[in-house]
Amino acid sequence: MATDRAGEERTLGRFERLAEQRVHLDGFALEDPELGLVALHSPFDPEPSLVVRDGLVVEMDSKQRDEFDTIDFYIADHGIDLEMAPISMSLSDETIARRILSMDTPRGEVAVLTSGLTPAKLARVVALLRPHELIYCLARMRVRRTPSNQAHVTNLLDDPLLLAADSATAVAYGFRELETTVPVLEDAPSNAVALLIGSQVGRAGAITQCSVEEAMELELGLRGLTTYAETISLYGTEQVFVDGDDTPWSKAFLISAYASRGIKLRVTSGGGAEVLMGAAERCSTLYLESRCVSLARAVGSQGVQNGGIDGVGVVGSIPNGMRSLICENLMVMMRNMESCSGNDTLVSESDIRRTARTMPTFFAGSDFLFSGYGSIPRYDNMFGPSNFNAEDLDDFLVLQRDWGVDGGLRAVEHDEALRVRVRAAQATRAVYEHLGLAHFDDYHVNEVVYASGSKDLSPRDQRLAQVASQRIVEKGITALDVIRALHATGFGVEAGRVLAMVNARLDGDYLQPAAIFDEEMNVLSSLTDPNDDDGPGTGYWPSSDRRAEIAFSPLAGSVQSLQGEQKAATHRLRVINEGPAVTGVDPSEVVIGVSPALARSMWVSSGGHNVADMLREILAGLEEGGSTGRLVRVHRSIDLGVIGLTAAKLSGSGIGIGLQAKGTVLIHQRDLPPLANLELLSMAPLISLEMYRGIGRNAAIRARGGRTIPIRNPYTNEAITARYHATTVAMVAMERMATSDEDPTEFEITGLE
């Protein structure tokens, strides 16, 4: 604020406008290592070091063994390859960083080298990588070749039918993992069952989980009601770890417990959690996350969900924060573990900022680009809104198309979505009723099918999911009961698919890093589908089918569909008495030159005006200005300048008007070069009928030698070229098809009124 010359307190207009931008709603923190508010490097991060004596780590990252906390102990004794360590630790940070980027160092060698690094060293290496380098490193280092995507499926009400319908919809879009959680903890078993059923409608093999407290989550898995687990949290400082009511040893045991039942699991960490809990020990978020990643590997996890997660708001608020989130994912990949790459929390009110956060992952691909894309509306996401949500699905699909990038998703046609939603809601209703969990009426099913989210549902018994859950627990319902109920109620296909998920536990192939099932139930993992990206010509390349899916957009129109639209707009206007055009002698006349297709194959402008209306207004304007109009068609050119100049040369006054069917219009004069003009309205979609009339009037004034106030080309700050250029191309193609070698022809029209 300042005081202007009149003595008033004022702010510059530009700054007032900037303050209204949504990015101003975000919070930004000053870097403060004392609080752990520092992303890539804190002055308090330890110097990397490793001393091994008789096979025992006696010093790690400048700490002596007797100073180790629980995390240090576990990493030192299990997490570092002591054979590789002397080599890895002797290389400079820059040397290692260059090897990650160098196509001459095979991907596998980078992983082996990384296995000998301490947490402090690994964090320093990835902090050297700049954003463009990080993108390539992600593409190169992720463990599975084929990228994939995970969806959040939740709703405010824990409505089982809606959860099932939304699960089936998510699978139709291509998500291969579905994650749910609960607003009410007691609802967890019901949500798990609804996802289990919905996920197998339409296509086979999507795996599901229900994120709740550790012991409850394990129980759901043990009953076969979920098929993977993710919310096994690790933290980078001992204080926070213990506050989370676990230790590295309890987690290691839990992880083995899941594996002993053939259930896939990954751990969760992510920068910023320690800062939020006020126990970051003055370290950078990246170093603490590096400890988590080393620990994840040490406890034998096949994969890690990180990249901010619950603490992403903290990391995002500090300098280099967003960049450090990508570093977190990369460290996981470098340790040869599955990366489930964050992007699961709305990081900004600014669309630019939130999109930018996701773009590196999007361009590079990941084992899972999102550790929860919000497949439901923002308000229904019980994890909190994701960085991309149901509202953004078409945007995401278009981004895939724009960049030829496989983000794991595909477009869903309306009727396919309808079909799977009906089937999922019906199957879930049938199972719940068959097992005596709950009763639903037809109206409920119908509402769910058409609902965008839970706010479209009528109020109902809010305890439905809770009661169903109690019964699931009391009756000891397992996946087998669900299979039998599906079969008994006529959903044999889905019964078979749920059984396939159960059977998948028996050999454990999907316990290996980054495993998903494709839609034919093949396991794609770091073993069966290893990433082999060593530069151009290697690594993932979408199949031709997949490329077609990525390129497809239901939003795209063709010349054929445009021809249909043009035909539908045919007016009762008729062209009559068409014959060779002559040069006029009447000094008050203005010739209107029209394009080859106008009123023949093209009837409506890109602004939505019928050619009859445009011609009527121009003729009326000419009359108002004291001129008469004569209509001439130019056959040889579709160029507006040539059309207008041809008209001007045929005109007794030397003034001509050029009009294209798409609506672009100008005034020309016979002695001007073709590309010059007197007045031009080039923004066809924005030209109003009043403006066509104004063009007629001004042409008449010029025909009498008068001076005009030119009609201003309409202006908009919208992305008008993006909106109309595809249509324009199709219109130009139609004009081109209508051209011929014929000389200009003169014609009259009837049926204008």
């Binding site: 083995s256 002993s260 073993l527």
Partner: protein
């Protein structure tokens, strides 16, 4: 090595109990061997611990997990647990429990 998979007819006929549907120790050992061959010894050890735990029932599984959480067990409790696990042919998990006990003592995570 192929594993016998259950057919829908068997499940529907009621011949199958949920407790019949279990990954076996041999399969987990095979996954461990695969992981080790792929250079991931830690994942291999996880699978080997899991192979031991196949025969441990769900309730006991949850109880062991609970015993390892911070402040739940005394050194004596953990020693007792480790001895039981050794007795029941769960030696790797027993080692995990003993290792935890040593560190918990140093870091004040035992039940006081």
């Amino acid at each position: 090595m192929t594993v016998r998979k259950w057919r829908l007819e068997e499940v529907v006929a009621g011949d199958v109990l949920w407790s019949d549907i279990r990954i076996g120790p041999a399969q987990l050992q095979r996954q461990a061997d695969t992981a080790r061959a792929a250079g991931n010894g830690q994942l291999a050890e996880n699978f080997e611990r899991a192979a031991e735990l196949v025969s441990v029932d769900d309730v006991r599984l949850l109880a062991i997990y609970e015993a390892l959480r911070p402040g739940r067990s005394s050194a004596r409790d953990l020693e007792l647990l480790a001895t039981e696990l050794e007795r029941d042919a769960v030696p790797m998990c027993a080692r995990l429990v003993r290792e935890a006990s040593t560190v918990y003592l140093r870091r004040g995570l035992l039940k006081s």
